[in-house]
């Protein structure tokens, strides 16, 4: 395999919990707590986690939408978090982000044609003369007719808006896209349309995705390598077939068995986890998962398991394996 396009090393992002007098931080939410992985050119990398796992924060920190606490994000040899403003500005044409909610990620007062044209002009990828044509082409590629250009976001349905948001992102012709739950607010029949759009675009434009989702079905469909996140750290990372056929971490197993399968005749043995995800402000000592793990031992309560390679293309952080 060639050099990774994106390399994340021990990335941490803590948010202060303000309180007390003068708003001093009284604690830290460890949203991302020491994550390392690589994403290779042209692959779709899936990041799966439940709410509060820190997956969104991770995606946003990769694109430096907020500063990191520590660690490093290398994109094609560029240390994203140490780039001077001018250089950083240039990376916007190479890395883009697609937000979860297509309703709030479009400015209600800007016509969609303008919304797509703006970034093109900002990065001098088009001139005022030819920008209209470019916008039309991009919209067409995302399955939207050119006549929609003069409309406002509120005139579109959720699926159409997500197409617009995708069009806006790919208009800059990026190599790498972080897609944060791009279909979770959409209906099932529309989800399929958008997922297909993602695969089509990847094929046509040789895109690399970091696809963030809580939906294992979608991630299995779209991604070739998948990382499972729990409370700020990655607990398991493997290729698609490895992860779904031989899951190792108890959390991955539980997650897989909890996904409802649309087949009433298939009876499965379910691992139903007890309790809730603990607060990232006050995570459990030792293995983060031990409070809910059915197999937890003493060592799990004391020592943080190392994230290590167990097979080719399969890494896991668990004492039991």
């Amino acid at each position: 395999m060639d050099r990774p396009l994106l390399k994340i090393t021990d990335l941490k992002k803590y948010f202060p919990v303000k309180g007390g007098l003068f708003g001093r931080p009284v604690g830290w939410v460890r949203a991302v707590d020491g994550v390392s992985f690589e994403i290779f050119r042209g692959e779709a990398f899936g990041l799966v986690g439940e709410s509060g796992s820190g997956k969104t924060t991770l995606g946003q920190t990769v694109l430096r939408m907020h500063g990191r606490t520590s660690g490093q994000v290398m994109f094609d040899g560029l240390d994203i978090h140490s780039l001077p403003p001018k250089e950083f500005h240039k990376t916007h044409t190479r890395m883009q982000y697609i937000f979860q909610d297509p309703y709030s990620s479009l400015n209600p007062r800007i016509r969609i044609g303008d919304a797509i044209a703006e970034p093109l002009l900002a990065h001098r990828l088009a001139t005022r003369a030819d920008v209209g044509e470019q916008v039309e082409n991009i919209l067409a590629q995302c399955g939207m007719a050119a006549r929609f250009m003069d409309r406002y976001p509120h005139e579109f349905s959720g699926g159409q808006r997500q197409r617009i948001v995708i069009a806006r992102a790919i208009a800059l012709n990026p190599e790498f896209i972080v897609a944060d739950e791009p279909v979770s607010s959409l209906d099932v029949s529309i989800q399929a349309q958008i997922i297909n759009l993602f695969s089509d675009l990847q094929e046509e434009r040789k895109l690399t995705y970091l696809f963030i989702s809580h939906d294992l079905g979608i991630v299995e469909h779209l991604c070739s390598r998948i990382a499972i996140m729990y409370l700020g750290s990655v607990v398991e990372l493997a290729t698609r077939s490895e992860l779904f056929l031989n899951p190792i971490h108890p959390y991955t197993k539980a997650l897989l068995s909890a996904v409802p399968i649309p087949d009433p005749e298939r009876k499965r043995s379910r691992i139903v986890l007890n309790g809730d995800i603990p607060s990232p402000e006050n995570p459990p000592l030792g293995c983060r998962f031990h409070t809910r793990c059915p197999y937890a031992k003493d060592i799990c309560r004391e020592k943080v398991p190392e994230f290590r390679k167990v097979k080719d293309h399969h890494q896991v952080a668990c004492h039991l394996f």
Binding site: H92, D101, G113, E118, A122, R147
Partner: protein, 304 residues
């Protein structure tokens, strides 16, 4: 504003602009249309009326002093025999002007300081907001009265009193506005589309003027109407107390001062009821219109 110009032949259906859509909805609201008509009438009455009126403002006519309303003088005459209706029109010019001008001033001051405070945050924000806090801790009427009294001490020429009143009203009015705008900017900054604008690498100028500010216009418009209403009310109160606009310039407020004279108050109600009614009608109309505009532009803001 639009980057993409419409191609003449493309036949794209260009949807109406947000303003046009809002305006249409406003037009469907009966009470909004009605109050807009009343306001229009008030403006015509004040600014065009005197030109049509057969009487002049200083047309002292000793033969018809304190004459009750009849067909020649629809609202009667005052103690100098001047036509009350004509005076009402001229006073309306002053009252409406003071209301509008103080609104514009406090809006400028408030939105500028509020936007700076909200956008930059930090120490600038703290300073501006503390000043606003201090000004807001003193109820506005006593504060206005003190400032007005102080200005009386400085013997400001009566011609300038008008402008001073505008300044005073905006001085008292801006902190509340600045807070509102600041809150709006802060919440807008957290919007996903502002984050998206960051990731897309849009320039700061574009972000502020095309993304941030246009989204504050609805709030500004609503606030503008309401602050015009309160400006007119405060001016009338100050003038009634003799601390605002003073004779010979007349405003609706100082026309009512005549009611302090017990005889005039009891026997000549046409001298003070019409200006009071004019204030009331104008302010109600502005408030109703403002409320309707708020419903149309920003339904979430209702009742705040």
């Amino acid at each position: 504003m639009s980057i993409l110009k419409r191609k003449a032949s493309s036949g794209r259906k260009r949807s109406k602009s947000i303003w046009e859509q809002s305006f249409r909805r406003l037009f469907k609201n009966r009470s909004a249309v009605f109050s807009a008509c009343i306001l229009g009438f008030m403006f015509l009455f004040s600014f065009v009326g005197p030109l049509i009126s057969p009487y002049s403002s200083n047309g002292i006519d000793v033969t018809v002093m304190k004459h009750p309303p009849d067909f020649t003088h629809w609202l009667g005459t005052d103690i100098y025999g001047r036509d009350v209706m004509t005076r009402l029109m001229l006073a309306g010019r002053i009252s409406l002007t003071v209301g509008l001008a103080s609104m514009v001033l406090s809006l400028l001051l408030g939105s500028l300081l509020g936007a700076v405070s909200g956008y930059y945050g930090g120490i600038v924000d703290s300073i501006i907001m503390r000043i606003a806090d201090i000004l807001m801790s003193i109820p506005s009427l006593p504060l206005l009265i003190i400032i007005a009294a102080m200005l009386s001490e400085f013997k400001v020429p009566t011609d300038y009193r008008l402008y001073i009143v505008m300044l005073m009203l905006s001085l008292v009015g801006w902190p509340g506005l600045a807070r509102l705008i600041r809150g709006q900017i802060l919440s807008l900054r957290e919007q996903m589309y502002m984050k998206a604008a960051d990731v897309l690498g849009l320039g700061t100028w574009r972000k502020i003027f095309h993304h941030l500010l246009p989204n504050t216009y609805p709030l500004l418009i609503v606030v503008a109407t309401l602050s015009t209403a309160s400006g007119i009310l405060s001016e009338s109160t100050l003038s009634f107390l003799g601390l605002g606009v003073v004779e010979p310039t007349s405003s609706w407020g100082n026309m009512i001062t005549i009611a302090n004279n017990l005889i005039d108050f009891q026997k000549h109600p046409w001298l003070w009821i019409p200006p009071g009614a004019a204030i009331f009608i104008t302010v109600v109309a502005i408030n109703v219109l403002g409320d309707a505009v708020r419903d149309v532009l920003d339904p979430k803001m209702k009742g705040r």
